[in-house]
Subunit: 493 residues, 2 copies
């Protein structure tokens, strides 16, 4: 493809994307395809000779589009939102036009420098303490691919710091602390690193937040048993219910265990700290006081397209000590002099994308106020939905709403109340009905044996009407599920 | 930014990129900026209110462009090439317009399905055995971010398989085998996973390729010492000199140690297997016979923009056994039924980009013949350069050229020959002069104490003229370096 062919195909791509966004609302949210649909449709090998690009983009419309789940659809309420803005798309487009693996400063100075600058902008915008900023040359921020990678990096840095201080401890005795509500990244870190993980209990009474007492008891038990907890992954905004661990209590306990690293995973909720009124609920003061590292994903609630996971550490030396490998062919004048950041020592890979560009574009185009407006609007919509649930006679909240996340279930009022097992049965029927629809998307979850449904607002195009419509659909399917379930089980309310 | 603003900014971005590529050749290859240039130029915090997008893109031109190293410049011969094609840029643009984290099949069926299809296309195109393909449901291919991540995943899978078979072995006794020429990914895997690494010796006489005898001796020694080597990372095309480990010999030795996993890292060279005439030099037959996993980066020599690292395993169960974490909120009908691939269990993160789209675009637009043409052209240019070095009186090859990579040094003919230490001194002066230029880029390396310079061809716009011009610059700088060195040391040839 020569330059003029690219110009034509590029303009056409932009126009197609515009057309797509004009019709987004009318498209199905979830794909209605069966496993294997694409393998059956496509040839079994690459073409021998090159094909015309028009044909390729036609096939994109024909075969790929129908198989996409539209996370940016205004009626997508499943999982967590995924960032989707035109500014980020353009940032990636410019970045893709000057591809470089940016593994050290010299490999592309702008790539490294912009990342250090915008991660400081973001830190300040979220209210993170100045010790987390790059400009002080002690801590600093870096963009990781995912919160899972960020947590894994934190665990590696924590393990390295801990074993340097405790050289005689074998890795079998090391312990990663998470809670039963921690994202799968906690268990995965254990799997990947071959380390033991202990999931601390959290209770429905505490809204699934880790308490200091639970942590202290675990520490006393484990230390007495000769085990060595070296990191706690705390969460601000758990996936299932948006729970926020009691970081203040946790921090006080950890003052007695100064070798333990506190990583705060706020993958989804952290962005809300852009609004002063949500800083307390996100425990910002405690993060600043006690956190060794912090992660929030701009590619979730932060208006930036995947991947753009913000990760900050208070002591970059712990990270670099754990990850630095510098063979001769990677040595550079500035790297040797220590005057620049070589981000390859801040993550697992060597090469890395120029991802700060999209973050820069978005931060500048929206400004702090644009971020605040967006967060407030989605929380408002989340609250509106929670109110509808609260006022309904068919549904009930399972936990208090958390920012823009509501966890609820179908719960017909009855006396005596319907037992949990039966309610779970009913809600599985209900969720199966809801998830069979292609005009809306929710996610199931399980909270200590209670099967429930999550509703997370976040798509930039979601309005009050979409939320009301979602609720109407839920009422409809709830009613049908109740009938279906009563029919099948003989239950009568 | 609304849809029409995006249309305008998008068309403008495409036009800017066209303009950029028209002038690429006249731009400096390496950035002429000093550390901190961008922090000094940009504000210290994000703007409070959103800014006009025109201003942002003007600042991109003004501040970012001058700080970029242009890896796709026709006179860039440093490190290894980084893939850069318009087709890949467009693939990323379309993919960015429908952002989704694609962690399981349901999260976006097209994303998973296209990846399984194109990774099979790529496997077939490269000549990989059918056991590495997804369609057989035993092995399969997945796109990782980097070869470092691929190697790390391989080590984790290998460790998991090994420790299941040897449950009593403590992790302190486990050993990763690499060679002294293995990419930093080998040592980094050890650092990340907290495992011991042994770098086996390779010699200049063997052109820095690992021999079977060296491996056998190491195995005998380590096993006798109670250690447990569980993976060998072999390389096809080392970074420093393009060495290819003797996989046939290695495979025969490993037949006596069936628990050891053989991962073949062919990050750069592997793409050359698209040409039948380079399959032997890349040891394809042995990879197919002995390899447990294989990696080659499409984002290096494979015409696809970063990141797109192809990773294939022969037994996907080993991978999934090692990495599967499935909480309730990630359970899906198809996942539970086992009828689909959930790629989240094939890598470290949860979310993943829809990267197969750009690979599909490139594979179709170039076709197998387009890939072959490109590889052959760059090898031809590499050979041309190697011939110029071979015929010169100032320079000498340090190792035999490997595909499109030539390793050479300044080596004035003298009797008696200049001792190594002095030659190294001279070549450091020479390389310092070359790397001070902004119109060309090379990389230094060190081969068993010999300081040398690498020249890798790969940018799609590089022609014979660029290679000849590069050689002329080297001659000029070589002459000047010789004079500078003679002046400084009093050496006279």
């Amino acid at each position: 493809m020569d330059i003029e062919q690219f110009r034509r195909a590029g303009h056409e791509a932009i126009d197609r994307i515009c057309e797509y966004y004009y019709t987004l609302q009318d498209r199905p949210v979830t794909a209605r395809v069966e496993p294997g649909y694409l393998r059956r449709a496509l040839p079994s090998e690459a073409p021998q000779t090159g094909e015309n690009f028009d044909l390729i983009t036609q096939d994109y419309e024909k075969y790929i589009m129908p198989g996409l789940t539209l996370w940016h659809h205004p009626s997508f309420f499943a999982y967590f939102p995924t960032g989707s803005t035109f500014e980020a798309v353009l940032g990636d487009l410019y970045s893709g036009s000057v591809p470089n693996p940016g593994f050290n400063w010299s490999a592309s100075p702008a790539s490294t420098e912009l990342e250090t600058v915008v991660m400081d902008w973001a830190a300040k915008m979220l209210g993170l303490d100045s010790s987390f900023r790059n400009c002080a040359n002690v801590g600093g921020g870096v963009i990781q691919t995912t919160a899972s990678e960020a947590a894994l990096v934190a665990v590696v840095a924590a393990r390295s710091r801990y074993t340097k201080q405790h050289p005689d401890v074998s890795s079998e005795k090391l312990l990663i602390y998470i809670t039963t509500q921690t994202h799968s990244l906690g268990k995965k870190a254990g799997l990947v690193l071959g380390l033991n993980v202990r999931a601390l209990e959290v209770t429905v009474e505490d809204n699934f937040a880790l308490r200091g007492d639970t942590l202290r008891r675990a520490l006393e038990d484990d230390c007495a048993a000769g085990l060595h907890p070296f990191i706690l992954i705390g969460t601000v905004g758990t996936t299932s219910s948006g729970a926020v661990d009691c970081l203040g209590e946790i921090g006080l306990v950890l003052e007695d265990y100064p070798f333990i690293w506190l990583h705060v995973d706020a993958a989804w909720a952290g962005i809300a700290m852009v609004c002063p009124e949500y800083r307390d609920v996100c425990a910002l003061g405690d993060i600043n006081k006690y956190g060794d590292s912090f992660c929030t994903n701009f590619h979730k609630w932060g208006l930036v397209n995947f991947d753009c996971s913000g990760f900050w550490v208070r002591d970059r030396a712990s990270l670099i000590d754990a990850l630095d490998v510098t063979p001769e062919f990677l040595r550079t004048k500035h790297g040797d002099a220590g005057t620049v950041i070589d981000y390859r020592n801040w993550h697992f890979g060597l090469g890395r994308k120029f991802r700060s560009l999209k973050l820069w574009f978005v931060l500048r185009s929206f400004g702090v106020e644009g971020f605040q407006r967006y967060i407030r609007e989605t929380v408002k919509l989340g609250n509106m939905f929670a109110s509808l649930i609260r006022e309904s006679t068919e549904f009930a909240l399972v936990t208090p709403p958390s920012l823009a996340l509501t966890v609820f279930r179908l719960e017909p009022r009855a006396s005596p109340p319907v037992p949990l097992a039966k309610l779970n049965e009913l809600n599985r029927v209900f969720y199966a009905r809801v998830s069979a629809r292609s005009d809306i998307a929710f996610t199931q979850t399980d909270l200590s044996g209670t099967f429930c449904v999550r509703m997370a607002v976040g798509a930039t195009r979601t309005s009050e009407d979409h939320v009301k419509h979602a609720y109407e659909i839920l009422c409809l399917e709830g009613k049908a599920a109740l009938e279906e379930w009563q029919c099948a089980t003989g239950e009568v309310q």
